[in-house]
């Protein structure tokens, strides 16, 4: 038996303490950068105009199924080439804030270039949800969640029209 993994995403106004979004969707197959804060609108219906930024994507990983421990998390952009005027910024583990299109200075990691997952950002795990405190490098909680994995596409006026290349965002973890 093994752990079952799924990507999740929160959207909407921050609520609660610790903060989280008003809407949570799981089993995500994509994390599209858009000019709208939701997980349902097609990216083609809410494109980002060159010079503007996407709404931040507040994503996380959820683990269920059969396992003893989840540990040693790494998160990175591992494949796909971003064109001129496109910058992916991200951060692990900051508190949820209502998504906006402002260039978020808390997103300190420049994820524009694909990197080897081994040099990705360290990710911690814990119970209850990505918003919960007490995350650690390993967890025996089931279900278990990662910290918030937040990213945003920032563009300048030099960005070309049309779709961006697909970026592969990888979460690597060990289970036993």
């Amino acid at each position: 038996m093994a752990a079952t993994f799924q990507w999740g995403e929160d959207n909407g106004t921050q609520t609660g303490s610790p903060t989280k979004g008003t809407t949570r969707t799981l089993d995500r197959a994509e994390q599209n950068w858009k000019n709208i804060d939701d997980s349902t609108t097609a990216y083609s219906s809410s494109p980002i105009t060159a010079g503007n930024n996407s709404y931040e994507k507040w994503t996380f990983g959820k683990f269920t199924g059969t396992y003893n421990q989840i540990l040693t998390g790494k998160w990175a952009h591992t494949a796909g080439t971003m064109g001129t005027g496109l910058t992916i910024k991200g951060v692990v583990g900051t508190a949820y804030t209502t998504p906006s299109t402002t260039a978020n200075a808390n997103l300190t990691t420049d994820m524009t270039s694909a990197i080897a997952i081994g040099s990705g950002a360290a990710v911690q795990f814990g119970a209850t949800g990505p918003e919960a405190t007490g995350k650690a490098a390993s967890t025996t909680a089931n279900p278990a969640y990662t910290e918030w994995l937040t990213h945003q596409l920032q563009t300048t006026g030099s960005a070309n029209p049309g779709e961006t290349d697909t970026a592969t965002m990888t979460l690597q973890y060990l289970e036993n």
């Binding site: 005027g85 910058t87 260039a103 300190t108 420049d110 524009t112 270039s113 040099s119 030099s158």
Partner: protein
């Protein structure tokens, strides 16, 4: 053109990057002279706050093992060699 030494996550080096302020967006945009990748910082901020964000940016991005086209090509050659080996068994 104003420049400032800023670490580039793609080049993995500090270079004199062009610094522009885009008032209507309330953003500072810096451009690496080598790879042309851009970074946004919020504006208005003080010089010391800008320096702090630049330092934070370096700390967060130094040491990334960037997958360059050369590395990707070398990886594909290795994968092909491994496949060829298995095929020949």
């Amino acid at each position: 053109m104003k420049t400032k030494p800023i670490f580039c996550a793609h080049c993995q080096d500090t270079r004199d990057q062009e610094v522009k302020v885009v008032l209507e967006k309330k953003e500072i945009i810096t451009t690496c002279p080598e790879c042309k990748r851009e970074i946004k910082f919020p504006y208005p901020i003080t010089i010391s706050e800008f320096e702090g964000l630049i330092a934070q940016h370096k700390t967060a991005n130094e040491g990334h093992d960037v997958i360059t086209p050369e590395k990707l090509a070398a990886q594909k050659v290795e994968e092909q060699a491994a496949n060829d080996f298995l095929e020949s068994l």
